[in-house]
Symmetry: C2
Subunit: 361 residues, 2 copies
């Protein structure tokens, strides 16, 4: 069993912000970037919080990410825009582009912002949740480094391309849909590999495109499968979702797409060619009041929750929950008890302490 | 083996339009409704074409659908609106609401229209394809009569809630994502039932919420499963998609949602209560020129196609294709060779001939 060290949310947030500052990221931007990582750490999305700091540090150290980007709108109309992130941290570019979507929603009913020349933006849910907290319906998508095979394909051509849509409620919790378009997270393959366990069929293929239950066969030149997995279970639908997210983030903004998305981490291969600038995101905000009385909408979202929770449970389950609930349960726990950080990540953070002189206390 | 009769697309279109006119639908609206059904019949989406005419006729005969609706915008801002369909045919309300989305996209960069008090709107792809043909990115969703269990649920609470997003290309075919958010279409359960065959696990549950391979167990009080099927394969993700579509179509417009969507066909049960008006749709159109040079975007969509088609094929497959391609292949065939209509549907059409005096020739 791996061991964990508990950290308070503030300790991790402060450390993260000061590490970004160490690399020349302006204080306000560094705080924003730390907010995005803290969102994931607080909600149990451990793969997208401080666990990724090592990679951001590597990229900043090598000058592969611009710590002081000039983020600008390159084209716009009343309700849409494209933002060029000037190769900044996705954790800084993303929040600024997301805010532009909110401003446009306030001004014209909805705002849709495609982003190019950016990098990994953390957890998709951060953005939609921020929009929801301001009373709007929020959308967030990003394309990512290739890991997933197209339906009927035998090689990695698509990212895990998540889609997030969040809806505010009145008295109950908001409903936050946040899902990758592949069958399972890469992290689950790694966990099975470390534990020496097989993975279920439907998760991955090997380097020849054959179904595999061996996590190593996926890691070594294989690929994840799209949501739906195979022809019988709708694998073409997960592929469709991944393509839609990719087209909204890539070609629409002028970013790279598909197999040409630049790698997030140093160990990943550099694509053979570039078809755009950086990776891409896509944000949306919709003013509920442009459609219906917001109070009426939010009361219906409350009722939606109650009705779904009243569903007869499937055998051996606790019954349906609502999208976003597991993350919220985890957040309540972690605010009180702190964030458990796995040994390997603590070791990374200690290395970063030594390299930067920023102390983790 | 079932037998089929070939009809020319024009014959079916003319018949359909005149049948709608017979029930008092104004000529222009009747033609539009026939266009929507012809879209499906031409593309091999046989469940959504003339096969549904029997049901539309039943609903019109009983006065459960308004043949002459006053379709009006109840609320709007520059880029968003809600439309009340006055209980008209979804085949008439849908196209009008979709056109409002296009107009708003032309005027302010994007247009998003939620629709209440409407009925079954045919194939989701019709709407996005129409938007794409005018050079915009098109979105189309609808909620539908309950058939699908929530993740970890043991009863029908959600519709098949499809989502469609279409992207125009330059020289190549457009990319049209059109997918239900459940693992498999209800029609495939029916086909297996008629053939006396088992269905794969992951498609459906029985009335107690247990996995079943017996099509009759799903039909008689069971439910379809969401895309992803089970906990191991991302069934929660398909559920998330279904919820997002439902919230955009139902609470946002003031339509019914979840288990309260009124039935499409006479044989289906009437929900125990109503939480809104009719069912709901959601349409979107985005002006590519508000984001990027449309020519550049479309050239990238062409390149996207070529790159995906160049993927190494998985064993025993012909390799990846692009979303929308199977329907386009079918359309090319059927324009030349006619539309094969299955015996049971021909029999329905002959009944309608007798009932209405409209001849099918």
């Amino acid at each position: 069993m791996p061991t964990f060290t508990q950290f308070s949310p503030d300790t991790l947030h402060n450390f993260t912000a000061r590490v970004f500052e160490h690399f020349g990221v302006p204080q306000e931007d560094a705080t924003t970037a730390a907010d995005v990582l803290a969102y994931a750490d607080l909600r149990g999305i451990d793969s997208h919080g401080v666990a990724r700091l090592r990679t951001y540090v590597d990229m900043l150290t090598l000058g592969r990410i611009n710590p002081t980007p000039t983020i600008r709108i390159t084209r716009e109309r009343a309700s849409v825009a494209t933002v060029d992130g000037d190769n900044g941290l996705g954790l800084v570019v993303g929040p600024k582009a997301n805010d532009i979507a909110i401003t446009k929603a306030r001004e014209s009913g909805s705002g849709w912002v495609s982003v190019c020349n950016t990098n990994h933006y953390g957890a998709a849910g951060f953005y939609a949740t921020k929009v929801v907290n301001q009373g709007y319906i929020g959308w967030s998508m990003t394309n990512t480094t290739k890991l997933v095979a197209p339906f009927q394909g035998a090689q990695r051509m698509l990212g895990t391309n998540p889609i997030c849509i969040g809806f505010p409620a009145k008295e109950e919790l908001p409903i936050i849909v946040d899902m990758a378009s592949c069958a399972v997270a890469y992290g689950k393959i790694e966990i099975a590999g470390r534990a020496g366990e097989n993975i279920p069929t439907g998760w991955a293929i090997d380097h020849e495109g054959c179904d595999t239950t061996d996590p190593a066969a996926m890691v070594n030149g294989g690929a994840l499968l799209p949501l739906g997995s195979d022809a019988d279970h709708g694998g073409h639908k997960g592929y469709c979702l991944a393509v839609a997210v990719d087209l909204l983030c890539g070609p629409l903004s002028g970013a790279n797409w598909g197999p040409f998305c630049p790698p997030f981490a140093l160990r990943q291969e550099i694509p053979e060619r570039s078809v755009g600038k950086g990776i891409g995101h896509f944000f949306g905000a919709m003013d509920i009041g442009g459609f219906i009385d917001p109070d009426e909408f939010k009361a219906q979202v409350d009722e939606y929750r109650r009705v779904m929770l009243s569903t007869k449970p499937a055998p051996n389950t606790e019954g349906p929950i609502l999208p976003g609930d597991p993350e919220e349960t985890e957040r309540t726990q972690r605010i009180t008890h702190g964030i458990p950080v796995i040994e390997a990540v603590v070791s990374d953070l200690r290395d970063i302490e030594r390299e930067t002189g920023v102390t983790l206390t």
